[in-house]
Symmetry: C2
Subunit: 252 residues, 2 copies
């Protein structure tokens, strides 16, 4: 992230909404821990509605702070979280009504056996909660992660400020589904940066009618794929703003 961020002129900001341990202070770290991790979403709510809302607001807060700080006119989402492709698959299945076997992927390269277990967990969670896409905050609370909730807040804030929000991998993609469910117009500010190797990513982006700019077989999350797409967005903006058209030089 840092190496790529330097290349594309982006600054990195890390928001802790739910790491299970205490983190040392760091100039780039914003502490807004809502709780230490989530509960087992296959046995009960991952978190309360209020906690989901607080995580959304934490994401919105950091986005707002960055956008108000001057010089930031584009946001890139990314994430680090343990086991967070499971809630991503849950969210994608819940919102797009796709079967868990199609939305659940190998995350950090799990084997066939573990993948089967993972699909089961997603199925159990969906059966237990029967999440209602008409109640996006309830969906987040039942089967989301704190990072997913925070990314929802980042996306919504980008839309409010009218700046592009470039998505990274499947966790961002699944969060975008929730943002879209909360505020459909927000999708107009979303740019799919990179196609995650996770199968659910394709389903989520199709639902949002977004086509990723990059497809480089990366599967990191963390924002790396989204950051790599930033120069493409910048070049497109500059071309629109600066390029002489054929009409302008009398060719039209």
């Amino acid at each position: 992230m840092n190496a790529i961020g330097k290349t594309v002129g982006a600054r990195v900001s890390v928001l802790d909404v739910g790491v299970a341990s205490e983190l040392e202070r760091h100039p780039l770290l914003r502490a807004a821990k809502v709780r230490r991790g989530t509960d087992d979403l296959s046995r009960g709510l991952a978190m309360s509605r209020e906690e989901a809302a607080r995580a959304v607001m934490a994401g919105a807060g950091v986005a707002e702070e960055l956008l108000e700080s001057g010089g930031v006119d584009l946001l890139v989402t990314g994430d680090m979280g343990i086991g967070n492709t499971t809630p991503a698959a849950c969210l994608i299945s819940a919102v797009t009504e796709s079967p868990p076997a199609k939305t659940t992927g190998r995350g950090t390269s799990i084997d066939d056996e573990t993948l089967k277990l993972k699909v089961n967990v997603v199925e159990e969670a969906l059966e237990l909660h029967a999440p209602d896409p008409e109640d996006p905050l309830g969906v987040l609370a039942a089967i989301g992660g704190l990072e997913h909730a925070a990314i929802v807040g980042v996306i919504l804030t980008g839309a409010v400020y009218g700046v592009p929000v470039v998505l990274d991998g499947v966790v961002s993609n699944s969060s975008a589904l929730v943002a879209h469910a909360l505020a459909p117009y927000s999708v107009g500010y979303i740019i799919a940066g990179h196609r995650s190797a996770e199968p659910g990513a394709r389903i989520a982006l199709k639902h949002l009618e977004l086509k990723p700019l990059l497809d480089l077989d990366m599967r990191l999350g963390e924002g790396t794929g989204g950051l790599l797409a930033v120069p493409l967005v910048q070049a497109a903006a500059r071309t629109l703003a600066e390029m002489t058209t054929l009409e302008e030089i009398g060719f039209g």
Copy 2:
């Protein structure tokens, strides 16, 4: 090109090796006209061997000048030429031994009728010259364009200097086949920037075992697709150079 070049920190350099008219002087234009356009490749040699060699040397010269000027550590190829996807298809068919119907595309969106004529021209040229891939300069002279020859020179010079050469569309791809035929090791310095919509591009890149970084449905040539890939190359280099590995932080 200029708008995208500014975004990615590239300078644009234009080399005239064969425009059919005289061009006004311009600070970015390097004049090295070998001749005014080529002859009809379906009826005779496109140019003489000596002319092909001079165009290769003109491309090599501008590449050398740029690399010696300081601050340039990567080259991007591009082209502007009228009708130059026809020689591109000829070169791709000649080197990869693929039928013209598979290597010939619609260029600037020609209709079915014109496409059929274009395939015929490529077939006639290949029948007339029976170009021998073992004689790459002869191939260029018989069925190449002056811009193809110049790009061959740029690629070879990049390889000599050990800097990456990022290819743009099908004209660059077809030139890379000739560079590879002349000096097989040069392909190690070539990066396929963007997959052209022209069908021959796919065939050329497969022959070179190169996978394009971008696939954005662009079909401009001129270097735009190659330029857009530059930040990806920069980010990859910076990641290799700067990123702490898991081993280095005691995780390995």
